[in-house]
Symmetry: C2
Subunit: 253 residues, 2 copies
């Protein structure tokens, strides 16, 4: 009857980013939950049940995982990247807060992972080398006015921005509006990094200036980094430029 829930970060696409602690937590589980494509990244182990679910059903997925753990099972709930960054850990905490008393007595562990912005940054140099913000552009769970207020505050104060959930079929215009908004605060030459499907076979990392950055270059699997006024490029012969934010970056305003 001593069930357990581990909320496990797989890291971005590449299996070489899966930390040993996360791998061990997956091996211990007798039931796995997660968004289907993320669960597909976990190698099958004998005797393990698999419960794939749809993208949008985060709270329901958390509740199902908690319910099974409360029945005494060893459950792992997987997230891509880090579970604590725009992923399943918050949904699990919400489910526990709203759920039956028994869920508050459960052994619940959160197992960290490399989140997408770190992997994308590593591909191009050190764009997050100084103060930065991570912001979700999804207005499913907050208003667009709140997002604009946060873009203004962060860019105006000299933070680099990592943009999660930049676009989806249901949210086609938000990223273009974001670039428009950021142009009020930042120079036209500010570097913008599009990191699509980083660590997967179809990875594509591209660079643009803020002036030319276009919302249509991204999809749901893209993480975008927008530099501050201090972010620079180092041109390299025969190699892509390095993008970095100096450690001594000051605000530009």
């Amino acid at each position: 009857m001593s069930g357990r829930l581990a909320v496990v970060g797989l890291g971005p696409g590449d299996a070489r980013w899966l930390a040993p602690e996360a791998d061990a937590a997956l091996a211990l589980a007798d039931a796995l939950f997660g968004y289907g494509p993320y669960l597909d990244r976990v190698p099958a182990r004998p005797g393990q049940e698999r419960h794939p679910s749809d993208n949008r059903e985060e709270l329901l997925r958390a509740q199902e995982a908690l319910e099974l753990a409360a029945r005494g099972r060893k459950v792992a709930l997987v997230s891509a990247g880090d579970p604590g960054v725009f992923a399943m850990a918050a949904a699990v905490c919400e489910a526990i807060a709203q759920g039956p008393d028994a869920w508050r007595a459960l052994d619940v562990a959160f197992v960290p992972g490399i989140t997408a912005m770190l992997a994308v940054a590593a591909r191009v140099g050190a764009p997050l080398g100084h103060d930065f913000c991570a912001l979700s552009l999804s207005d499913n769970l907050k208003t667009w006015a709140t997002i604009e207020q946060r873009l203004d505050a962060a860019a105006g104060a000299g933070f680099v921005l990592a943009l999660y959930n930049p676009i989806s079929r249901a949210r086609p215009w938000q990223l273009g509006k974001t670039f428009e908004r950021l142009r009020r605060h930042l120079p036209a030459a500010t570097p913008v990094v599009f990191g699509r499907a980083v660590g997967r076979a179809d990875e594509r990392v591209t660079l643009a200036t803020l002036a030319e950055a276009d919302g249509v270059e991204a999809d749901m699997a893209t993480l975008i980094i927008v530099g501050s006024a201090a972010t620079r490029l180092v041109a390299r012969p025969g190699l892509p430029p390095l993008v970095y934010t100096p450690r001594a970056a000051e605000t530009s305003t």
Copy 2:
């Protein structure tokens, strides 16, 4: 003569957070550079030179590593956590930007790791479950006025804050001033997480409210997370409370 520099993230203290890619990069190197205590975390391998250095000498350490790589050696330069977050990746980019042409032709790879804020967050739940900022409190390379401006902007707009480099012998008062400043924007009950030496044998994670948070509770090995007005606690019988920021968090202002 095909030298190589890998800038490698070890993750926080626990070896189970070292990703396989990082481990492979360390195994390939014939020379290792890094701050002494971080280098001590890398198991010795036969035939590998070790070049430990002091904490403050980041640019010099980057230059020495690049110089050896330019002479054809396979060099790994280690950081705790992720090298791109307040660590060695930016120093390497700065050294390349300022250095001889040959350094711009070098094979340089950045290998991501789990950064401290993700590990500390995982210990308590999901405090970074919504929009957040990472901010260094060191005023060695920026003015205190810039730091205060960023604290105001981030807390005022509803971001959770992860504070790196909160305190040192040379910077004893900055963290106390930070809590004072944040009390202007945030409720007295806002949760504050002190994560000291996370993943090490002497790990200590404690909780406070913003009203009672005290700068003297931290040291150089501490990462601090200050919630937004939306961040909550879930009390649990016989277990530490969960700290989380709901996915639907709105700004309070």
